[in-house]
């Protein structure tokens, strides 16, 4: 996918000016926040569970090679195959050949951010295979030829009216010519359109919330049941996942699930939890003929050995974006690649390069809400700061910023000189601003005065007054 993270500032401005987007964002964030708080309140051990969930992932990441090998052994023992893929291109080729083996014309897909990393849909289309998104939000995004703007609510940027127009336009050729305006009707129509697609699909591609090392199983959670249908109905299911999705046991997965849904949507559990292990066994009544897992690295093993390891604890619940005031004003598309919001601000520079995505870790006020709500206690602001440090060390930050900080820091280490210069400056500024109490414009302060006045200083510095003996 062509990243547009480089033009974050312009993307953000477009988002701020998009009235429909603003309507959608205002509604969704408030709802998710209240639901999370209430769900956490109903579970006295919620905070302890967060610690437990973090410990499970930390342990797994510390022994990732062991658990991945164990996982592969168990998948193989159950009759399945694991395909190790270093790059998205490797993964695409494996998926294509599996589709071709199955003689696939149509592929159903349940929601997967990894598929977005691979840019799987356009690739399949190029090769004459039609991908059909089955998650309602993903389906909307696919019809609109857009990208997801949120990792668990891909179409959250769209209003109901926009979806109604979209369905009217795209479903008219299917004989559904009435424009619907109730949410229930829209959902029903999507269900009716998608149902035959499941049955016609030759291959079903699902992501994974967890890969279970002890059993070789993969687990997905959905609220629509589309994961089940995608995995069960086609002859050839394919699971796609990245390395860090593995956990040691089923019990570990369920422990993490207890914080996952609560953090994401405020549900106690997602509506559907699907565990699948291997293809049909000889005495099974039915089941798939084969079971393939495409295991993608795409930078994860490098991150594992870096100071960004902690972000690999992420279980993609979306809580950080549900609570981020920056995400809440600009929307997910502004971030310009697969993962938006605070976790995207850490992942994206790691996966596509800091040169491309340097804005993302900078576009945070470090308010700390993301870290506060992250079920896996990922120190997101701290990791963003590490990226800013890399940016500074590699001289990627704008020269004006670097020299500004340099001059200021030099001065800040020389209290006497600093006092002398700032004392003078503040006196001048204080005199100029005395009558009105504020500046609406000021040279070199355009960033500040674009959106607000600059309150005038009182006129003398505290240190100057203190030195003169003033005490109140």
């Amino acid at each position: 996918m062509d990243a547009t993270s480089r033009s974050f500032v312009a993307n953000a401005r477009a988002g701020l000016q998009d009235a429909d987007l603003q309507t959608s964002l205002a509604r969704f964030q408030g709802g998710f926040q209240v639901k999370r708080v209430e769900a956490a309140k109903r579970l006295p051990e919620f905070e302890a569970l967060r610690d437990e969930a973090r410990a499970i992932k930390d342990h797994t990441l510390a022994h990732l090679d062991h658990y991945l090998e164990r996982y592969e052994e168990q998948v193989t023992a159950a009759g399945g195959t694991v395909h190790w893929c270093q790059t998205p291109e490797d993964a695409r080729q494996v998926i294509l050949s599996l589709c071709q083996e199955a003689d696939a014309r149509t592929v159903t897909k349940s929601k997967s951010m990894i598929a977005e990393e691979m840019e799987l849909n356009p690739f399949l289309e190029e090769h004459g295979i039609e991908p059909v998104e089955t998650d309602l939000g993903e389906y909307v995004v696919q019809l609109a030829e857009e990208r997801p703007s949120h990792i668990i609510a891909p179409a959250v940027h769209k209003t109901k009216d926009q979806v109604a127009d979209l369905f009217h336009e795209k479903h008219t050729p299917l004989g559904r010519t009435r424009r619907l305006d109730r949410v229930e009707e829209l959902v029903e129509e999507a269900r009716e359109v998608l149902r035959p697609r499941y049955l016609a699909a030759d291959v079903g591609i699902t992501g994974a919330n967890f890969l279970i090392a002890e059993t070789g199983s993969s687990t997905i959670v959905t609220n629509e049941g589309n994961g089940d249908l995608t995995q069960i109905l086609p002859r050839a299911p394919i699971v796609i996942a990245t390395l860090e999705k593995v956990v040691p046991t089923l019990e570990d997965a369920t422990t993490i699930m207890r914080v996952l849904a609560r953090s994401a949507t405020g549900q106690e559990f997602s509506t559907y939890t699907t565990v699948s292990t291997g293809p049909r066994r000889p005495d099974d009544a039915d089941g798939p003929e084969a079971y393939h897992v495409v295991l993608l690295d795409n930078g994860r093993s490098r991150m594992l050995g870096s100071e960004f390891r902690e972000v690999l604890r992420c279980i993609k619940c979306g809580a950080c974006m549900n609570h981020c005031p920056v995400y809440g004003t600009v929307g997910g598309h502004a971030y310009g690649w697969v993962y938006p919001g605070p976790v995207g601000a850490v992942l994206t520079p790691n996966l596509i390069g800091l040169e491309e995505a340097r804005h993302l870790p900078n576009a945070s006020s470090f308010c700390g809400r993301c870290e506060e709500v992250c079920p896996m206690r990922i120190p997101l602001p701290g990791l963003m700061r590490k990226l800013r440090e890399q940016e500074f060390e590699r001289r990627l930050s704008p020269a004006a910023v670097r020299s500004g900080i340099g001059v200021w820091a030099w001065l800040a280490r020389r209290p006497a000189l600093y006092r002398c210069l700032t004392g003078l400056g503040i006196r001048v500024l204080g005199m100029l601003g005395r009558r009105r109490g504020r500046f609406t414009r000021l040279p070199l302060a355009g960033g500040w005065t674009a959106a607000r006045d600059l309150p005038a200083p009182e006129g003398a510095t505290f240190h100057a007054l203190w030195r003169k003996g003033r005490r109140a």
Partner: protein, 257 residues
């Protein structure tokens, strides 16, 4: 009641020093009333956050060493800011992690560093203040006070003891105002939208004054309120607690001109 530390080093903060000395004097008054001896070390400038949050670790460390040198002699270091206190308390130890000389020094200073209002309540046992303020106020939690230092109840408790003052809560007191240090000038569109949302929330409370414990938030909020032509005044919470709210509010015209 915990024993009151005798000698307090006041970390003035750059924004109080430059923009709002009144807050420094309010802090001194409150600390002295709580039984502390207040010293203002000459060799202080800034805690280093602008460099730290811009990724300039080397300069941050150099500045932090100055602060540690200047404030080590005191029983406590107190700042009228959650952001600067949080920097010293939470980030200095991390900044010097693994440094055999400076990490222990940073940790010692961190353990004795506090945000002003929580220092008064939690360390000095102050339960009420002798102040009067006619009017309705609202209180904005600065992100670092709230999330780095856990300051939430303390300022509200002391405000309840101010005669004549009524506190109306914001709908979202814990949402960032959009200041964020250099963030506000690097991303003015986003920051501007965040502070506009904050101003809306403030207006909805019907309060005549908005209070907060950090000058960064306050300059941002006061600047937005005045840009919108709002009558709502902005003050540091210490001004009200110290009975110094008779001076012009932040961004208001000086008297007598």
């Amino acid at each position: 009641m915990p024993a009151t530390p005798r000698r307090v080093g006041l970390f003035v903060t750059c924004l109080v020093d430059l923009f709002r000395p009144t807050v420094g004097f309010a802090a001194v008054a409150l600390l002295e009333r709580a039984g502390c001896e207040v010293v203002v070390p000459r060799a202080q400038v800034c805690c280093g956050q602008p460099a730290y949050n811009s990724g300039d670790r080397a300069d941050t460390k150099a500045i932090a060493r100055n602060v540690i040198d200047a404030f080590e002699p005191f029983d406590a270091t107190v700042a009228p800011s959650g952001s600067c206190a949080g920097m010293i308390k939470r980030h200095y130890p991390a900044l010097f992690a693994g440094d055999p000389v400076w990490e222990p020094r940073a940790q010692r200073l961190a353990a004795r560093s506090f945000e002003l209002v929580s220092f008064l309540t939690d360390e000095c046992g102050v339960e009420s203040v002798d102040a009067r303020h006619e009017g309705t106020v609202t209180y904005h939690d600065s992100c670092s006070s709230l999330r780095e230092l856990g300051v939430r109840a303390q300022p509200r408790r002391l405000l309840q003891s101010v005669d004549g003052l009524e506190l109306n809560e914001l709908a979202a007191p814990d949402v960032c105002c959009g200041f964020g240090g250099t963030f506000c000038v690097k991303y003015p569109d986003i920051s501007g939208r965040m502070v506009a949302d904050k101003a809306k929330d403030i207006a909805a409370t019907g309060a005549d004054t908005v209070l907060a414990g950090d000058m960064g938030c306050l300059l941002n909020i006061a600047g937005r309120l005045s840009r919108e032509g709002s009558d709502v005044k902005a003050r540091h919470v210490a001004e009200v607690l110290a009975g110094m709210a008779d001076r012009p509010a932040i961004g208001a015209p000086a008297r007598g001109r």
